[in-house]
């Protein structure tokens, strides 16, 4: 049997076992819901315009008409309620039935007035006063109204890329969150699988017929393919939701950013999975697993924090340096790439350095893994594992 056949057999077992595992299926569904939710939620929160309830004291039809006209011009939704006297209006404000009440030359509010609403009310009051004074001066009210209706100014943005950049950064940020979550999740699967084989002792039977590296490679590749499938599913679902809800202005940018995220997932996962598997081989019980994984998860958390920082400042010194450091680069580089500020040599250097790190970890970690697998009981020291391999 060739090594490829053996590795593929092991990988296929990992995939089948996980696809039958309810926990895995549930976690996939959860991540999907989270991603679709994060694409749709901003729409739900910002897209829907809110309504302002405003009280008016006395019967002042002209004022009401002016407020509604200004609110319409300002894109605000204002609903008016009439009150007989000041006290009634004040108690309505206090009871939060209305956000503000207009009483002659005053506006009664609970504590402060929304600036947008304030502009509308002031403009309405100002227009009313202007109309009155012009009417007093003998000008026809119809002419006044026409003279005062001015079309709003047209907005001409100079930086047309601003929105696009913000969108790219948002996608990159989302990508980092997904990368982080998936690497922790799949990395833990690898580690738990290694410990399961040790604690159930099935590893002795396995190693009597296959080599340690074949077992390691099969496990990492199998679970990695599952992780990749999850990632693709997340990308497709996220993209579909974003397009359906019209969140994305330029889907092309999003696809480019996703391609970077997927590429870096493969590089980052290979490194972390090998590290996680090596650490897991040192212990024999699931209870002891967290102790050995803690420092590794620490590196991942650090990478995550730096990547979040890089999303805000992609050209900063910290972002530029960490986007080259193996183990950190898989999280930081996709953020910088999304912001569009990466020189080609930086990208190549980051990939090469990460590949070198993967080769080193697999070589050294593979020896620790092989040496520690058949030692059960307490925690195996790395030194002893290397001596035993």
């Amino acid at each position: 049997m060739t090594s490829r056949t053996v590795v593929w057999l092991v990988a296929r077992r990992e995939i089948t076992a996980k696809l039958r595992d309810k926990g895995f299926l549930l976690s996939t569904a959860f991540i999907l819901a989270l991603i679709v939710g994060s694409a749709v939620l901003p729409v739900a929160f910002s897209g829907g315009s809110s309504t302002y309830d405003v009280g008016v004291v006395g019967n002042t039809g002209q004022l009401e008409a002016a407020v509604l006209a200004q609110a319409d011009a300002g894109g605000l939704d204002v609903e008016l309620r009439a009150y007989d006297d000041t006290d009634a209006a004040k108690s309505a404000v206090a009871a939060e039935q209305v956000v503000a009440a207009i009483d002659g030359g005053q506006v009664v509010v609970d504590s402060s007035l929304d600036p947008a609403l304030e502009r509308v009310l002031n403009a309405a009051a100002g227009m009313l006063v202007a109309q009155e004074r012009l009417a007093e001066a003998g000008i026809d009210p119809a002419e006044v109204a026409e003279a005062l209706s001015v079309p709003p100014l047209e907005v001409v943005p100079l930086d047309t890329d601003a929105e696009r950049n913000a969108q790219r950064q948002f996608i990159a940020f989302l990508g980092v969150v997904v990368l982080y979550g998936l690497m922790i999740l799949i990395g833990q699967y690898v580690a738990m699988g290694v410990v399961e084989e040790k604690s159930s002792r099935v590893v002795e039977l396995l190693l009597s017929t296959i080599k340690p590296w074949q077992l390691l490679a099969g496990k990492v590749i199998g679970l990695g393919l599952l992780g990749l499938a999850q990632l693709l599913l997340i990308c497709v679902a996220g993209l579909a939701a974003a397009i359906a809800f019209d969140v994305l202005a330029v889907p092309g940018d999003a696809i480019g950013a996703m391609a970077h995220v997927i590429g870096w997932f493969i590089l980052g996962y290979a490194l972390y999975a090998a590290l996680f598997a090596t650490g897991a081989a040192l212990v024999s019980r699931q209870e002891d697993l967290q102790t050995v994984l803690m420092p590794l998860i620490g590196i991942l958390v650090a990478a995550f924090v730096v990547a979040i920082q890089a999303a805000q400042n992609p050209d900063g010194v910290l972002a530029r340096i960490t986007s080259l450091v193996p183990a950190l680069s898989p999280m930081v580089m996709p953020v910088r790439s999304a912001a569009g500020a990466v020189a080609w040599w930086e990208l190549v250097l980051a990939v090469v350095l990460n590949l070198v790190a993967i080769a080193l970890v697999i070589r050294l970690g593979g020896r620790v893994y092989a040496g520690a697998l058949l030692r059960t009981g307490g925690k195996v020291k790395i030194k002893d594992a290397l001596a035993g391999s």
């Binding site: 076992a17 084989e197 002795e204 009597s208 017929t209 058949l374």
Partner: protein
């Protein structure tokens, strides 16, 4: 022929196997006996490549055992273990495939095996849902599923009920008759005596006795004479020259003779003192041979 040739292993300063050599012919069943910690498991692990010998090697038909050869060995580790959450049939099929079988062949081989070993639960269940005895049977099936050319089993009978023991013995004898050399370790020496063509007793990493059970008996010099005489005068046997009384219980005595050829003199003495009901050379059991060999 499966050969262990001068296999030596030490951890730190402790010698676990000391120049261990023995051979098992094709179609032979070899019982590997020894106290706990004598080195049986280490010897088997070395054959499977799980532990590296410091010196010496294990050969199959004259060739050093390599990974390709190991795929054709059936192995049952002392520390039992399969995937707890994997279904029984899937599991056996997987191990068959890891040993180079096609999926169909592995599946077709696993099914009758499960049936024969008496795993009387649904094969679609996860292993952990089975009783411990049935898990043990599945473990045996995992060692047998790929029709191995050599069988190396570490304590295969421990934990089985008498019916399970018979079922396993049956399968092993069948494979043995088909020309497969079978090595198994066991503390159940009556079982070893019954099943094995050849026995090896290991003590402190050294082979202290080896051969068929009969050969071991022959080699054992001081055989015992069991005599039952009714109405005998007490102490009759001690008066016969060259006789040592090992034990006396009612009318039964167990004797050791300086010269076994003079057994007829003992019989004559017995007949003089009373009615002889029983007179025989007693064959030592493997347990006694084992105690003797380990004590020496």
């Amino acid at each position: 022929m499966l050969e262990f040739d001068s296999v030596t292993k030490s951890y730190g300063g402790t010698v676990v196997l000391d120049d261990l050599s023995f051979a098992i012919q094709s179609g032979q069943m070899f019982g590997f006996c020894g106290a706990n910690g004598a080195g049986k498991t280490t010897a088997m692990r070395i054959a499977l490549g799980l532990v590296r010998a410091c010196r010496g090697e294990v050969r199959w038909n004259g060739r050093t055992i390599d990974l390709e050869m190991r795929r054709r060995i059936g192995y049952m580790p002392e520390e039992r273990g399969l995937y707890p959450k994997m279904r029984v049939l899937d599991q056996l099929t997987y191990f068959g495939m890891l040993h180079g079988m096609t999926k169909t062949a592995a599946h077709d081989s696993a099914l009758p095996l499960i049936d024969r070993l008496g795993v009387n639960q649904r094969t679609g269940e996860a292993l952990e849902k089975l009783s411990l005895g049935n898990q043990q049977k599945v473990q045996l099936a995992a060692a047998l599923v790929h029709m191995p050319e050599v069988l190396i089993l570490d304590e295969p009978f421990s934990g089985l009920d008498p019916v399970g023991v018979d079922a396993l013995a049956d399968v092993l004898l069948e494979r043995c008759r088909a020309g497969v050399p079978v090595v198994f370790s066991s503390h159940q020496l009556d079982l070893v005596e019954r099943l094995c063509d050849s026995v090896g007793i290991i003590n402190g990493g050294r082979m202290v006795a080896q051969g068929s059970v009969n050969e071991l008996r022959e080699r054992e010099g001081n055989r015992q004479l069991r005599v039952v005489v009714l109405d005998a005068s007490p102490g009759w046997a001690a008066q016969v020259r060259g006789v040592h009384v090992l034990s006396q219980q009612g009318s039964e005595v167990l004797l050791e003779l300086d010269d076994p050829a003079r057994d007829q003199e003992v019989l004559a003495a017995a007949q003089r003192t009373g009615r002889v009901q029983h007179f025989s050379w007693r064959a030592p059991t493997l347990t006694e041979l084992f105690r003797e060999a380990v004590a020496a």
